[in-house]
């Protein structure tokens, strides 16, 4: 379309020019028209504009892809940061699996100094409601102690225990209990920073 858009008006201009004579038929005009140089220049300009448009499109696509990757990475980091850690029955000790999960969170917390977390401790339904409030609190405390042990400031964490009052799985079997003995991580402030290193992943 661009090509035709350029040529058609040029030809029309020629025809109009030719048609504009007086009564006297003018002498046959010298065969004038765009010189080869002019045509080349026009073609070049056209090509440049196409290239520029393509470049802009590619840049935009690249930026979009980068943003998408960044978003994806952010989601991944958010998932890692808020990944629930679980506990043994009646215990507040960090299990090896929880330790792996918490170490992954430490990196994110270091790279994103604005992030504030609310650590929500929970217990399964067995035992007394009041003791389980204390148990949930001990679990949240245990998680905070682990994270501050890696140099993360304690002021970045708020803690609360829900005891057995907010089960994740509302059943009474071993599997449900295992799911319900947990600490949840809620982001209350700050943005997750995606570093360049993370960006390339």
């Amino acid at each position: 379309m661009r090509i035709r858009g350029f040529i058609v008006p040029a030809v029309a201009a020629l025809v109009l020019t030719a048609a504009c004579g007086g009564n006297e038929p003018p002498p046959p005009p010298a065969p004038t028209g765009p010189t080869q140089a002019e045509i080349d220049a026009a073609n070049q300009a056209r090509q440049d504009s196409i290239d520029a448009a393509n470049a802009a499109r590619e840049a935009a696509a690249a930026a979009r892809a980068a943003e998408q990757r960044r978003q994806q990475e952010m989601r991944r980091l958010r998932t890692t940061l808020t990944d629930i850690v679980h506990f043994e029955y009646d215990m507040a000790d960090i299990t090896p699996e929880s330790e792996r999960k918490l170490r992954a969170k430490v990196d994110i917390l270091r790279n994103s100094p604005d992030i504030r977390l609310r650590l929500e401790g929970h217990a399964d339904e067995r035992g007394s409601n009041e003791y389980n409030q204390a148990l949930g609190s001990a679990r949240a405390q245990s998680v905070r102690d682990f994270l501050t042990g890696f140099g993360i400031s304690a002021s970045r964490f708020a803690m609360v225990s829900y005891g057995e009052e907010r089960p994740l799985v509302n059943r009474s079997d071993e599997e449900a209990w295992a799911q319900n003995r947990r600490v949840e991580f809620k982001i209350t402030a700050g943005e997750i920073q995606v570093s360049d290193r993370d960006d390339r992943q």
Binding site: G127, S137, Q141, Y162, E165
Partner: protein
């Protein structure tokens, strides 16, 4: 029947030490404990028969008379101290009292009553007759509001407690209420509810749309305090039940504020702060509305405090031994050395929580994980003996969170059975268990104090 027979009606508490005694019709179910042999064993107490002579009344309708009579009859039956003969033929109404006839019917005591209109409301005159001696033992006149009044049932329960006082010279529990939290069907919220001692008058107390639990009663029964998550973090609030006024116990320290309990002096609340810089037990001065005092704490949890009736001691729940399993301790109310009263044995620690100190004596009730199936049962320890005298009161299902009635004899608790969850009452003397409320997801009941204090409502409640 003679007067000394009344001593038989005292709860006969039997302790089994080292071996199991089989007594007559007593039920026994063995439960092995290190150092202590624990089981269900009750001596069948003598329960004298009390006949309720159909109450008289010259009123427009028979409604209130029958209602008052029914309420008192059930209250007296619920004391587990009497065989109550009520709903007797109308033919027995009125006239002189033929003690010989009542003696033949097997009654030891006879309660007669007359309800009369008195402007607004009624006056109920009751007489307690000693059938054996053939004489009136006590009489009293009580003001009862109209049957439509919200205080109608309470005023009637106060009469029941006066009769219990006449008979046994001990506090009753009829004029009292039980607060508890109830989980919503979707499991998202828990609100506080209340019922009367007889299971009637079910009503909702809070509407926070949040988790609210661990109610505790002020000694005068006019206020309750509890933990609520309504501000997102657990905090302790006090609610005036008469005015509806509510106040927050100012959280001057970081942490979760949980498990409040009133000091019997009514001026302080003891509770637990967890998760903060200094966890443990604290008291809050209600009169000055400030001022935390630290009682105990450390890297462990001290929680669920409960005061002795004289306010000098606290029983509490703690895992200070470093194990994952909580135990019950008693310590001076101002803090200090704590004595273990739950049956701890290294390597077989058990799990004991939710202590509640009897309002009239040296007994602390709690629940523990017992036996092969790891179920929770209600236990009562004699604190004067540092818990060496321990009795188990339940054996079916799971039973948690006992709370003493103001009579110091009954306990309310949450019982879980195949059919669901209910609020149950056990008589610690006979072991009788009855269901008070069923089918609701109930948590942490707290039995309030007796509301049967001599007040303007009692025209004359004393004996001769």
């Amino acid at each position: 029947m003679t007067r000394w027979m009344r001593f038989w009606t005292m709860p006969a508490l039997v302790f089994i030490g080292g071996f199991l005694i089989s007594v007559g019709s007593a039920r026994a179910q063995e439960e092995e404990f290190p150092g202590v042999t624990l089981g269900l064993l009750y001596e069948t107490a003598y329960q004298p028969a009390l006949a309720l002579k159909p109450f008289a009344g010259r009123l427009g309708g028979e409604g209130p008379v029958a209602q008052v009579e029914a309420i008192i009859g059930r209250d007296l039956r619920y004391t587990d101290r009497l065989q109550v003969m009520d709903s007797l033929p109308e033919a027995l109404v009125g006239g002189d009292i033929d003690y010989g006839l009542w003696d033949k019917l097997g009654a030891v005591w006879l309660l007669s009553g007359r309800l009369e209109g008195a402007g607004e409301g009624y006056v109920l005159s009751v007489e307690l007759h000693d059938v054996v001696y053939g004489e009136v033992r006590n009489r009293g006149r009580f003001r009862i509001p109209d049957a439509e009044s919200p205080d109608f049932r309470l005023a009637t329960h106060i009469v029941s407690d006066a009769v219990v006082r006449w008979l046994f010279d001990e506090p009753g529990m009829a004029a009292s209420r039980i607060a508890f939290s109830r989980r919503s069907d979707d499991g998202q919220t828990q609100e506080l509810y209340m019922i009367d001692s007889d299971g009637e008058n079910f009503r909702r107390v809070t509407r926070y749309g949040s988790i609210t639990l661990s109610p505790t009663w002020s000694p005068d029964g006019k206020r309750i305090a509890y933990t609520s998550y309504k501000s997102d973090f657990p905090r302790i609030y006090e609610l005036n039940l008469e005015t509806g006024e509510e106040r927050l116990l100012e959280p001057v320290r970081e942490g979760d504020y949980i498990t409040p309990t009133y000091n019997p002096n009514g001026r302080e609340i003891a509770f637990t702060i967890t998760g903060g810089a200094q966890s443990g037990l604290f008291t809050y001065d209600l009169e000055r509305d400030c001022c935390l005092t630290h009682l105990s704490g450390g890297r462990w949890n001290d929680l669920s405090p409960t005061y002795s009736p004289d306010g000098r001691w606290l029983a509490l729940n703690s895992n200070r031994l470093g194990t994952a399993t909580p135990q019950i301790y008693v310590m001076p109310a101002g803090g200090g050395e704590a004595d273990l009263i739950s049956p701890y044995l290294h390597g077989n620690e058990g799990y004991y929580t939710s202590p509640d100190w009897s309002p009239v004596g040296d007994f602390v009730a709690f629940h523990g994980r017992i036996g092969r199936f790891g179920r929770y049962q209600i236990l009562v320890a004699d604190v004067s003996d540092r818990g060496r005298r321990l009795r188990q009161l339940t054996s079916e299902g799971n039973n948690e969170d006992p709370s003493w009635a103001p009579d110091g004899r009954h306990l309310v608790f949450v019982g879980r059975r195949d059919w669901g969850t209910g609020l149950m009452v056990v008589d610690t003397a006979t072991g009788n268990i009855r269901l008070l409320l069923r089918g609701l997801d109930i948590r942490i009941p707290e039995w309030g104090p007796s509301l049967a204090v001599d007040g303007p409502d009692t025209l004359r409640g004393g004996g001769f």
